[in-house]
Symmetry: C3
């Protein structure tokens, strides 16, 4: 789409080598395919990711099965089929498959052909998240889930989860999430404050993560945080955005009440697991789990914070969808230019592209 | 779309050589273009088939005229034009064409140019069906309509006709109609019964037809047939699906009351003329005429049977549209596998492809 | 789309060399991008023309600024951004641009990079029209606006302006506007009369214009003109259609009351500036300004005439959109044929194509 040309040295610039909507997907990675509560017993669920249609269901034991949503016989969607015990029975001709994808019966004949097999995928559930691996099964077995234990029910923080479909490519959502400088502008009506953009920040590029940290102190908190914490005077707000993998970026916020004496200050944490799942070139299935360690048992606080953060995500979607539209429909040549604070995002895009190409060999 | 690979000999399999959505249309064939009642005097009707826009109207004598729906001057649709006597007068510049497609008058000049001619097509009406031939006109004159006299008003059976637009390719509807094994599953809520799939069947491949016959006996009839015939005990249900031509497949059902002594049993017939007309690669204009020789004069029975059968066709459309979607949007390689009962459908798809390619020379 | 073949000499015919929907746009021309009243102070306005997204806003002095609707940083639409004084501030990261497109500030860093520049475009306002030039800026400076002073507020005629989006290519709208022979047919319910098509006409092909003139006299005026002028008997109606440039065609009407003695007859003028702006291959932004020199101060007359003329334009859009659909979706070969009265339109299409290709070098 955008033509990327060399620019003078005064500014970092886009160039060939950065991932964009034309970059292949990365298959060897864990992605959240749906939320635990979305798969009810006996009801198959359809999802699309990395250009592949997938069906999910639970066996009698509650384990999640994931397989291609396409009967090998005549391509009927298994998500429109029946769950019988641990099997799925195609709604078109009644062909029965076990949770391993093997054909168990064809009603019109005696033998169940071995070639009639549905491709299955590795799944792991860390409620409220259900993860899937569409790539090399051997690598699934040896690859840990990306780190966000605090976003699981087992961890004990207050949680809320949601999802949206974004009409853009996942590369641009990742770049957006690593970039904190847009909060004062795009999010000025939700959780951005004017002092955010100019606050000092650091970028830390590691082998297994890319981290941007921004400390805004003293500052005033937006009502979203100020009200439940009852911090209405000077506060510190330290935000860390961490890219972990194609399927996970973490937004971690530490809040402190600066009106208290230094020794009495507590770190209040609120984090969002940003769970990015490419649907296809132009769409992202965007799940998020919001976790906090304060006022943990108040449902009203959970609801208010969830609504406030989701409102900001809607602002991101507005921006990213309009950017995607511009990239898609603008017929004149264009050169994107980067600024100093884009360093982390540019590194991330370079890495996403390298990994995608490496996987293709 | 689907990649077709060799599979082990234990199962018939898809391979190159089968028609699918990428196969060219067959032009040298009769297709139903609309129902007789759809063409009212003085009102041109637009239809699209084989990728060509067509206009239909009746002359003063009631004969149906079919021509390209595109004025040779500036492509204005003649279907948005006026019928005057036996002529059609373009709604844009008033250019007049006779039923043979010849230009009769141009308002702004004295001469009617000979080159300004609309392509016309051979039409035959066997009410309630109007047939069209878009291919070689010489072959139209020598090719009989496909055999379904029982579906015409002249035959005297009770008739009802309808139409639907299917968002799939016509090849897959043909395959579906030759396949009786899906009735127990896809149609279990309408006219399928559980014993249907496993009933014995025969396949008969002739030069001018492909026939699948399935005998279910003893069985219980679905209410759709049981109620009007008052057969609520053991019955025989013999179903014959016959592919005749790209535009016609016939579903013929014979029902018998097995509770009667053998000598007193009557054959009750109900047949559907399945009239397939490809609109374009991804759409089918699907007409059907349902005919029966029992309880012939009861409008309520006609209505009930029509509604019941149409409900089953809606189930077929649901399946075929989801299959088409899977074939269209699934980005990973895929190999369709066939089962023993697919023999007729596979033969049919092979034949459709051969005819299409032969026609192209 | 349409295949253009040679035809016998008895009729002018389409051939290679005529512009159609595949012809490139002409960039070196003035186009109306919006109406003056559509740009309010402080509110950026988005338009798309020649395949490029453009944003427009007014500076404090009221001057119109036009620039690419795409922040050079990350493609965010500047039309979703804030106007601050004479500057536009990107809604994503707060990057500030002056009306010359130069970057004035980046919130996260000290320096405003020189390469971060938005492309601007020459604009001229002759209210109620705002003109833009997307091509070679050097030629903009030396090229006069196409001639329609009578359509400006400064001229003193009664004016009304409007706009529509047409789902077709602008070439066909230009051809339609030069063609008066369709009035008796397409516009028989609005301003066409039966004698129109056969009336004598002249075609005058000049270097800077193509003119078709048609005199209908004596005639009866349609109520649209007859009522405000109170001419209900014999009248003269002289219509001149003039192609001036890719962005302007003029429809000029002179009306005379033939019931008055020859010496007492007045010329009553009503003209429409047909302002064509290609959006992309398949869409036109169609502005029009209707001006007259009679009953000038009556708002009701303005409203009635505007509504009546717009109703005829809606008929043109119906025709052109259906023609575009036929050209787009009809899969069989097709040869358009021209008639004598197409001479001007054919010349125009030849000229549009030559200019477009000349501009590409």
């Amino acid at each position: 789409m955008a033509t990327l040309l060399a620019t003078p040295p005064e500014t970092p610039h886009h160039e060939d080598g950065l991932a964009d909507e034309d970059t292949p997907f990365i298959f060897d990675a864990w992605y959240v395919v749906c939320l635990s509560d979305e798969i009810e017993a006996g009801k198959p669920v359809a999802r699309r990711l990395l250009g592949i249609n997938v069906v999910l269901y639970r066996t009698a034991s509650g384990a999640v099965v994931a397989m291609r949503d396409r009967c090998p016989h005549r391509s009927f969607p298994l998500s429109a089929s029946a769950i019988e015990g641990d099997d799925i029975v195609c709604g078109y001709h009644g062909i029965r498959y076990g949770p391993d994808g093997a054909c168990k019966a064809v009603p019109t004949q005696k033998h169940a052909p071995k070639v009639m097999r549905v491709q299955t995928y590795a799944v792991r559930e860390t409620a409220p998240m259900v993860w899937i691996w569409l790539g090399d099964p051997g690598r699934a077995a040896t690859t840990a889930l990306p780190p966000c234990e605090w976003a699981t029910r087992a961890h004990g923080w207050a949680l809320s989860a949601g999802s949206m479909t974004l009409h853009s490519n996942y590369v641009f959502l990742h770049e957006n999430l690593l970039d904190l400088s847009h909060l004062s502008f795009l999010h000025k009506k939700t959780f951005g404050t004017p002092d955010y953009a100019a606050a000092p920040f650091s970028t830390d590029i590691g082998e297994d993560r890319i981290v941007v940290r921004r400390t805004v102190a003293p500052t005033r908190l937006p009502p979203l945080y100020a009200d439940p914490l009852d911090i209405h005077g000077d506060a510190a707000r330290i935000v860390t955005s961490t890219y972990h993998s194609p399927g996970l970026s973490v937004s971690a916020v530490v809040l402190q009440n600066l009106e208290l004496p230094e020794g009495e200050r507590t770190d209040h944490h609120i984090r969002t697991a940003q769970l990015l799942t490419p649907i296809d070139r132009d769409h992202v299935l965007y799940h998020f789990v919001i976790a906090r360690d304060f006022v943990k048992d108040d449902a009203q606080t959970s609801e208010t914070i969830h609504a406030g953060i989701k409102a900001a995500f809607v602002e991101d979607c507005f921006a990213l969808e309009n950017i995607a539209r511009n990239r898609r429909e603008d017929e004149a040549p264009f050169v994107e230019r980067s600024i100093t604070s884009d360093k982390a995002g540019v590194m991330l895009r370079r890495r996403l592209r390298s990994e995608a190409l490496a996987e293709r060999g």
